[in-house]
Symmetry: D4
Subunit: 252 residues, 8 copies
């Protein structure tokens, strides 16, 4: 409830249009639409500049379909369901035929927001260390794109052949925000962090084997980066990185 | 070496002012000043918009003094040594008497950069969950301040008495970047992340006991935040959070 | 063996109705019914106010059927088998056709105890952070219900949209015991703990990915809760939370 | 802000005693007293049935003194500062000479609340496995006592000599809530949990060496208890156990 | 090479029956039969009082068959292959039709050693906490039996209903060596360890969920046992416990 | 309470020498002597063949003195306090001047039991990998000695110079029970386990640095020993190894 | 870019054959061939003495085929794709029919380099502790062979029957580099390290169960080896060990 | 015992110069000199090309002195005691006045071996990421030097300012073996590994804080290096790296 809304309510109450009990209740409770399994937050679009995103993992295809459709009809923004598999998508399509499924990124999305203009002077750059990191990178890229950003990518430029990274120096220098995605030892985040004065969002991936411990090695590596300006999101959390990059990229 | 510098070198070489061997060498090697124990990077100030920061832990007081003094004479920016104890400070003072020591934040600094103008319309807000998190918060605050930002703080507004956090909603709404500092279960990051559409930098602290495992509980909590737009730096890394907040806050 | 039973035995012995060897044996050994694979504890119903609950995981369908049937014929209370899959249920149904299977909660149960009256003035409230936590919550809800309690639920009210939690403040204030079920960062337990003076039982779930480590992040978060009055049960242990909530809720 | 307070405010506003801006502000913000380093929550005493407890670790003696004194003058209840050392106490005594220090439990407290009557029919029983667990047990005992409960203790009755535990069966049967405190393998919680139908709060302690990992072995053991009705608080968290036991013990 | 064998070789050499080069070689190298994939140790039966046991996991059915058959023809003792699945067994049967497969214990064995007489006065007792621990227990039981011991079992006597354990006190007192097998919190080992002055071999099992971490909770619990005389083998290592119990049981 | 004692009590009750209430009470409770801080178990000497051992760590010098003295006057066996420092000893000496302190092993003991005859045909052998493992080995040696065993030691025979271990083959072959004590990678346990058919008790020590993690590397190594007949006690638990070795060594 | 190449470029520029912008660009960027998903490094063969190796895991069969074919046409050396399954191989065969697949080692390779002469005086010896370690050993063996080395193997010579290892002492003495591959407790590395003055590369394998934690026990064991000259690669990293052994073996 | 020594013994025995029992004994046992606390291996100098090195940590100053002196008198090579503090040194000096103490590297050594000639064409290069890694690097440098190698160092060239590393490319290219020493995220090992075709020995250091976990982050990072030819030694194990580098560097 914004201060403006409170003021309006007070005035309505004073004028007798709203009963005391009603006013008390309105103040004590925030608005939400009740469904059997989830309370969708239609206010978030205004409050956070983007619609609620659906985390599909652990939800039934029917639940994802219903929430997606509810958001589809209540908002005008782009829609996004993450960690979705094909069975989720098949159900969503029943109600929102225009929805698209990206198998690599495991995203169901609807790219419909006509209010968006992408600012080419403020680019998000997404770098990966290897080819195997691409699914996470695509999740980040599509997320940032749907949230209204220009996104550029350079995949497979890990530090073991550092000249390949240096071929992308112009792109690194030109970016406003950089997302670095790497598994194994995650060293790319530190090297990139030392080459730029822009914020770097590091995403450890579960790529690797043995003592990579499903991304823990890269996670620790990135948290301990000796480069200034590097922060970290959860292992394989391409969506989180894309959403945060968007938030940062939209600051003026 | 910037492209401009390469171009200038090429022309000097063409005009015969620079011998071939010299040009080859200049291209193959980056500039650095050799000291016995450390190679200080005087170019960083231009490249990253801030002078090199000294990580004092593990260095002798003499080493910190000499690097600090070298930076003092080679740059015009503010200076900063982190994780410093009083013995480091005593030596630094010998050569840079104007340096200040903040015991809580364990920082030695010199606030001298007259080129800085702080932009009050772009504030960094630093929140802590408890009183014990203040040393880390002060490290972040001073860092962000020395890097040229307006910084505001609200300390001790953890989630167990959530009305106290809500008293700071206006400050949260007004901030451009938010740093959330919490130990124990680190829940503050998620709650704040849900209340703002600005980027949130979460700093886990080693405050707590038992199964907090010196900050691991808060770290994991923050990495798994269900709120969008939260990224994490290392445990107790107030400096890192402050520097990153500054980088983000200066984006236009 | 209660003191009363010992006294009775002593008197029987004194009167010669029980031989010495028999009395010695009776004192040295507790009663149990021997089956090939398990010794069912028929005394527990009286001792603990509820029949023995069967942990089905790791038992064959035949074993679960036989224990379930043995409890069915030896007690009058409600029956419950946890962590059961459909193959367990099919066998149980052969002998106890009235048994019900709840697939979400993975429970086989028999709701037959006519001695139970549920006290509406002492409610157990079960909250979940997300939709994916519902299976664990349903395990807790059904358990508490079968043990004779009034149970209320509010699902999907995590801290990232905290106004949704606040819509349930009246239910929180009205509850006698609260069970908070959350995966990812598990912050809901701390926030709820700060809003109530009733005991809070926190259940971490394995919902999440990457650095959630199958519930470890939520577990640590909850163990380190800065709120007073929060205790924790094992990851995904909905049954344990429901049973403990019942024990607490029945105190007078 | 309770519903009653909102109603009162609305009426005052309607009658013109409160200006609109003022009313809006009052609604948007919760009450708190600002101090430089901490915002003390004077409302908690009513909301949670007990005054705010001070976590002294990480606070300076001066901070603890000032918060303690502020609570002393603003409330009428008992006061408690946990994890306090003698230097904290010396400062507290300057302003609250009646305050007492318990070195074993590391508590500073003031036992002054004349409104308390302890209910001997609802006892909290505290059991420890060994002599070395006593400091944690004393923290729990004093906490529960200051919150207005009858508390009984049986120390050093670990499972390696189980007849010693059985000597306390009458006390176990008579208790309303049981706190079990154990380090090493923490097996006592499971054994006691099997002997009672009352709730058991398990506190792992950091007592032990080697693979006890400062309480982790006991913590895991207790979380995996095969007994029904056992929940766990943080390692060495005697205060948390005492406070929770009190909350449970006061349910009617 | 025993001292006796060395002596014999020396004499043969002295008498000229063995050339110098040959004697040097014989001394420098130990006997072994070469196969493509494994070097079977036929001397172990004499050296360790039992034939080599085959660890089938990670070996192909053909490898297990060939080693089993090689042992079958070279020794007279009982034979044992652990961690074997049915496909291993099918191949072994081709060459050793008398071999038996125990599915629960995952053992292939041949019980043929006529030299064995089992000593009923020296019994090994195997206890399990729950029904789910039985596969590990059966692996231990069969191992100890095949190595020539009298073995007794009491399954499902965990500490949550401690009277069920006490029903087996006579068996506990009568045993020469006790194997305690438990998952979850593993408390049974400590309780049994306190009831006997015989050695206790504790086997943690991976039974449990959540924070049992596939047996780590039980493992740590057992390593930290407060009872004297308890040692631990690897998680789920029923074979190891059975073999060690046999070694201890045969000491005179 | 033995069956014999129960029988005697029954007869006394029948003859009227013992009242019913008294008999009931006697049956329900086991004997123990109450002291303020600890309940000493005087029956253990008979039940376990050795007096209770005092774990001094975490106990005050006064507590250790009083328990030691109580055991001194109530039993005739050898006495032992483990993990004791000099301050414990000074107090013990006040009441038991004959007590001895071994600084390396951190043991206070009294070697007075004249009933002991050590059996030279059943030796316990204690091996250490390095010189730094000697304190743990001495704790094991003295424990086993005081419990009435012949003990032999070979220190510093780690596997990196395996010929040094082989020099002790005769001692290994002659031993009845072997204790292997090693830090770092703990490989000695596996090698010795392969050389003997006697039980091997492995003790990991916290000797090492870096990735030895205070004994965890050795602990895991020993738990995973590929040799048959190796079991493990807690890190640095020399006492536990000595006591278990004694239990095993006394089996006939 | 080598110094020679820079010099040549400078001269071309001076002579006017290369424009300034072009020269600047050439200096700033390293050579690479762009493909959609990967940038293959054709320079590595010269720089590292071997062609780029493809890590197939996480790549689609089409990606592996295209990279393999690209390397096939651009280089003359042997080719190698690691962690490949049969589906990768089927696609590779489409374009490079001469490629071979080794199922045990999970390698696709092409053994065609006619420039290689293997030096029999500099052998690499690969030892495994057990039969289950063979797949990792074969990966190492084939790698080292394809890189141009003489390789010898001794499989299944773990420390539990140490005479089997000693049978290979002549091979150990003759080797120039030794690779030791072991799971479970990994003790073989330390024993071999003590028997040779040549470098030992230790490879922990995920062979084992329970507290082997998928190779962590062996990894820690090897990192803490008390033997001098042992270093470690990642768990199951047979390729890494083979490649490193080759690099070391080729030093002169 | 070499084959030659065996042959000689056989002949002596045949000729009657050695009795049978004596010969048997000589064969069964390896030579060693007995001291009370340690068995020094005087044969290692020949077998491993270097004298035994003393690991001083955990040894008393007297023990270190006696072993050092024993080596001093029995060998002609350089001597080295690692992890030594000043108190060790003071005692060593009593008997070997020429011994030197390096406080940074914590080494006591004697540089006396006149047989050594250092080969300038085969250099070991030691790189550190930061100034704080220097103590470990000095331990490696001195070790490699005393073992007879030419050693070069470049300290403080971490990846955050990667141009500083590139200034050392000529040294990297010239080295025969490279030791990379880094704490925090340890990324330097991967970057260097990608720049060279020589073997790289990576040493993680405990430099860092928070989630560096005393070197674990760097350790995991290095084990997962995406660069070929990198192996790892224990955290802070400068000695191990220096010794291994020497072994590799001496291969011809």
């Amino acid at each position: 409830m914004t201060e403006e809304e409170i003021a309006r309510l007070l005035r309505e109450y004073k004028e007798g249009n709203v009963a005391e009990a009603e006013a008390v209740k309105a103040i004590a409770e925030a608005p939400f639409e009740e469904m059997r399994f989830a309370e969708v937050d239609h206010h978030r679009e205004l409050r956070q500049g983007m619609p609620e995103v659906i985390y599909a993992a652990g939800k039934t295809p029917e639940q994802v379909r219903d929430i997606f459709y509810s958001l589809y009809t209540h908002s005008k923004g782009n829609l996004l369901a993450t960690r979705a598999d094909r069975s989720h998508y098949e159900r969503v399509q029943e109600k929102v035929p225009a929805a698209v499924y990206d198998e690599t990124a495991r995203l169901i999305y609807l790219d419909r927001d006509t209010r968006i203009t992408r600012d080419a002077a403020h680019k998000i750059l997404i770098l990966t260390a290897g080819t195997s990191d691409i699914p996470v990178a695509e999740e980040a890229r599509l997320t940032a794109y749907l949230f209204g950003n220009c996104v550029e990518t350079c995949y497979d430029c890990g530090v073991a052949g550092i000249h390949r990274l240096f071929a992308h120096l112009p792109a690194i220098k030109a970016a406003n925000v950089i997302v670095v995605i790497a598994g194994m030892e995650g060293a790319l985040a530190s090297v990139v962090g030392g080459l730029t004065d822009k914020p770097v969002i590091a995403v450890p991936t579960s790529v690797g084997y043995g003592a990579s411990f499903h991304g823990v090695a890269a996670l620790l590596s990135m948290l301990n980066s000796c480069a200034m300006g590097v922060s970290v999101v959860n292992i394989d959390n391409g969506f989180g990185a894309g959403a945060l990059a968007s938030k940062i990229n939209k600051l003026r």
